[in-house]
Amino acid sequence: MSPEQTNLLQGTLDLLILKSLIAGEMHGLGVSRRIQQITGGTFVVKPGSLFPALHRMEEEGWISSFWGESENNRRAKYYRLSKAGLKQLEVETKRWGRITWAIAQALEAS
């Protein structure tokens, strides 16, 4: 793990997965790479965390899955955001906003 990579905070993984799926349906590796990309390489999600989260979120009904063809013609399982997932993204985003605001307040306090 390179020094600029950071451990994921509890609960942020869901937010990042939902956020990355906004761009469209993608498979597990795609999600992982997308998170790496949009966080500027700060977060690298290992399969051991990614897959349990994906499966849990699918059971929650936030995302749905289907088997499709990958960019180089391999069979891959794709995930797509559902309506409930979109709503959940809003909820999580708001929650995250509150947390960052609160932490910032705390750090600014003298």
Binding site: P47, P52, H55, E59, R75
Partner: protein, 891 residues
Amino acid sequence: MPLFVKARSFLRNLFLSRRVEVDLDQEVHSHLEMLIAENIRAGMPSEEARRAARIELGGIEQVKEQVREERLGNWLHSVLSDCRYGLRQLRKNPGATAVMVFTLALAIGATTAIFSVVYGVLLRPLPYPDSNRIMAVFEVTSKGRPSRVADPNFDDFRDQNRSFQAIAKYNDNTASVSGASQPTRTTVAGVSPDFLKVFGLQPILGRDFSASDAKKGAGPTVLVSYGYWRQHLGSPRDLSQSHLKIDGTVFSVIGVLPAGFRFPADVDLWLPADLDGENPSRTSHNYYAVGRLRDGVTVELANRDISAIARRIQDTSSEQGDYLLKDGIVVPLQDSITGKARSPLLVLLGAVGFLLLVASANVANLLLAQASVRERELAIRTALGAARGRLIRQFLTEAFLLSLVGGGFGVLGAFWGVVGLVQLAPQNLPRLDSVSINIPVLVFAFLLSTAVAAGLGAFTAARATSGDPRKGLVEGGRGQAGSQGSQRVGRVIVAAQIAITLVLVVGAGLLGRSLMKVLEVNPGFRVDKIVTMDVSLPWVDDPKAKTGQAIFFSNLIDRLKQIPGVRKVGATSGLPMDGGLPDGMFLLMTPNEIPKTMDGFGALSQQKGRIGNADFCVASEDYFQVLGIPLIRGRIFDERDGTDSPHVAVISDSLARDRWPNQDPVGHTIEFGNMDGDLRLLTIVGIVGDIHEYGLDVPPRPTVYVNLFQRPRAAITVTMLSDADTRLVTSAARGILHDLNPEIPARFRTFSQVYSASLGSRRFNVILIGFFGIVALLLATAGVFGVMAYSVSRRTREIGVRVALGAGSGDVLRMILGQGLRTIFIGVAIGIAGSLALTRTVKSLLFGVTPTDPLTFGGVTLLLVGAGLLACFIPARRATRVDPMVALRYE
């Protein structure tokens, strides 16, 4: 929507787990392939690309396991795996498992069977709409006992109460009924018109009684039970042609009652009461009463209401005296039906509960022994990171498996057990027909198994996981696993078992001794070789018709005497032990004191010196000889006592002593006309021995016997003393009766059947509690043996050392026996204390012994100590044979 998605996922995980797994496997593999491809694209050589991809993935199985743990319904999978593991554990020790399952099956089965009787008799609601609103209404006698109601009193209850929406009176008797088919003896109820309204029922066919059907002189109408309608009437839809001849009168069938309705018990026909008019006396208690409470009225309010009416009657009635009601009482009908059965059944339930405790203790001990063997396994699992909660869950799972399997077999056994119980149960146990294994009983059995499982599981889990895992590993290494701690607990369990068993066996002993004492009582009559024949003729009032019936009986008896083998033939209005005789107040008076009016009798009955109280029995001369009731003084009826000669009576010894102390009653005259409406005085001509007519455990009652041929009666029981085969006598007698009048049905029994039925409920209790006691004793003995044998096998090395150091076999024997005896004595001491506290609850079931009967206590204590010592002796003997060389090299 998400909820739907969740449910679908849950079900998919549960039922399509194979597909879910394949899907996951493919997904992870495709992920790996894509990683490899990515690495190759980045320029890695293929081997290197593969390795890097695997490192990034972090192990296919681990990833899959992590996903599995996140899945919905994961807990269920882990429970299932606990079950699988538990089953494997149980299979590993097939012998112990079989013993535990059998023990639990026996105990749970027995408890379930007894509970099904308790439920069916005491708890199950009566099968009528809102049956808890149906009350029985009684008068209360001057002695404070509930009694039946007299007609005018019932009328006052009915007209003045504000508590009941419907109230009715009823009685039942046996009648000779003939319709299209053979004449049969049928149980018939006389009821007032609101009877069905009280039960909230209506005929399924035809109509209910109307008020006019019950008026004096109304056309005779009858309601029939569903069963009677089908069997005897041929289920006609149109009742207009259905008529029944009941005791000589033709009744029109007007309605059919719903299937299953038989109240009072065994009744098939319901007739309006009072077709011949009411009895105006307030002291002739001929009817039971039932009522349905109005909405919002409590039992207590109804009681106050009825009590107030009863006291008003008591204050204002001209018929003062002991036979006038003192009060009135209202009790729920169900309680009034099952009241007497309550305490014996609860005692049985308590006894079987004790058996269950003893059995569970045995299983707990076996589980404990296994757990201590498993201490090493547990220590290893703990060391490897298994949480204590997980281990506790494992033990609970195993206990549940055991108990549910045991309970399942137990319930299967209970199906047979209940059949046996119903057959064994005394005939007078009410509501036996409602006893079965039904849903509430099954729920009870399930809850019981669950409770046993929770107890056993919690116990073993607490014991097995409380220790320090390091100690387990170390001790385990020496092969002396968990000896000290678990053996102490084992001995505590055994002491408790002995204590409970002692209480149970003392209870069984007290009941058994009571039964023996009862059987020692001289009944005052002979039982063997008597065939009885119940005959009832239509009820008549006219003296001439009555005389005709007397002649009929006289002919019948003469003919019966000629049956080969029949020695004597008598007749009575009521056999001993067969439901009892009517009782009443008689007056001592001489012929010239007979008053001219009813008021005159009333005035005489106020004089204490003139009144006496006795049972009233109608009998023929030979009845006394058939039953072997001895003549003490004077004479029994004979040819002198014709219809027109002075009426005579024979009295029982106790009546003679109580009413005529230091006098000779022979020659005195009494008035006992209130029993049969015949006001002629009775001259006492003889004194006969007392008999226990209400049961051996009830003292003989003072009795006045009158002559059947002077005071004829429509329903009698003929008694035939015979050396011949019962079946031959029965068929001959049936033929003779048919010859004399084919319309009269008869019922045949042997007197010993009647007699032994009277002991039925006592025998039932003794057999069952005795059986539970024996089983508990065997289980407790097995428990002692198990704990001692286990202890000896664990101490082999120690004993070897002792022998090597010079201990003789006597010392070893003493040491082991002493250890066992300590446990036994502690158990016995607690058991005796418990028995002293508990046997009071069975006091009402005892006869001739006190609840603290020293003989029973002593005998049972000896029995338990003996059995316990025997169980200790075998392991102790084995201990003396320990060879020090072998023992020291052991393991």
